[in-house]
């Protein structure tokens, strides 16, 4: 069974600074996807960034980038130039590609990020 671990329950960062959220996962699969979702207090889950395991290049979406280390099973999220609107719960998620588990997102417990003015 796959597991996702986020070891930082809470983090804080000053506005305009950079912060990195950690995520590790355990799987015996070779073909999978990884995601970071953001859940602000409004509770709407928002897809931040995705990474296909077969791609070596780290994904980037504007101020958000990942450091994907497949051998180490690590998938950290870096937020640059943090903004007050980045305050939210961040969830790392794993999904096996193909087969009967298509669509089953397995989430970590989340990291609560606070951006301070």
């Amino acid at each position: 069974a796959q597991t996702v671990t986020q070891s930082q329950p809470e983090m804080s960062v000053q506005e305009a600074e950079t912060v990195t959220l950690s995520c590790t996962y355990d799987t015996s699969e070779s073909n999978y996807y990884l995601f970071w979702y953001k859940q602000p207090p409004s509770r709407q889950m928002i897809l931040v960034i995705r990474q296909e395991a077969y791609k070596q290049q780290n994904a980037t979406e504007n101020r958000f980038s990942v450091n994907f280390q497949k051998a180490a099973k690590s998938f950290s999220l870096k937020i640059s130039d943090s903004q007050l609107g980045d305050t939210a719960m961040y969830f790392c998620a794993f999904m096996k590609r193909g087969g009967g588990s298509q669509g089953n997102l397995i989430f970590g417990k989340g990291t609560k990020l606070s951006v301070k003015p």
Binding site: Y33, F35, Y37, S42, R43, Q44, M45, I46, L47, R50, F91, M95, R97, G100, Q102, G103, N104, L105, F107, G108, K109, G110
Partner: protein, 114 residues
């Protein structure tokens, strides 16, 4: 990405009763999913709802407790039956788009059972 709405946004229910949650998408999607987020916890997949077939339930979730309908490609319902306080959670639907694996979520339904 698809625009997803859920009704109701929140409800307070008596134990022993049932609540049906609706999920509406503004475009046709093949796969829809229902998740539960217990207070202060992460999300757990309840079931996958495909149009024209029975929903597929994850371990620990059964059809009698969480019956699901998927009458067409833009709509699904989840019923929480015979509720107990342990069912107090946020229930979210999601749809799969973008090369078939990205999932986008609705705003959730916050359920409190007293």
């Amino acid at each position: 990405s698809a625009v997803i709405s859920q009704k109701p946004s929140r409800d307070i229910c008596q134990r022993g009763t049932s609540l049906t949650i609706q999920c509406q998408v503004d475009s046709q999607v093949t796969m829809m999913f229902w998740y539960r987020q217990q207070p202060g916890q992460s999300l757990t997949l309840i079931a996958t709802a495909n149009q024209g077939s029975e929903a597929t339930y994850e371990s620990g979730f059964v059809i009698d407790k969480f019956p699901i309908s998927r009458p067409n490609l833009t709509f699904s319902t989840l019923t929480v039956s015979n509720m107990s306080p342990e069912d107090s959670s946020i229930y979210l639907c999601s749809v799969s788009q973008g090369a078939g694996y990205e999932q986008y979520f609705g705003p959730g339904t916050r359920l409190t059972v007293t």
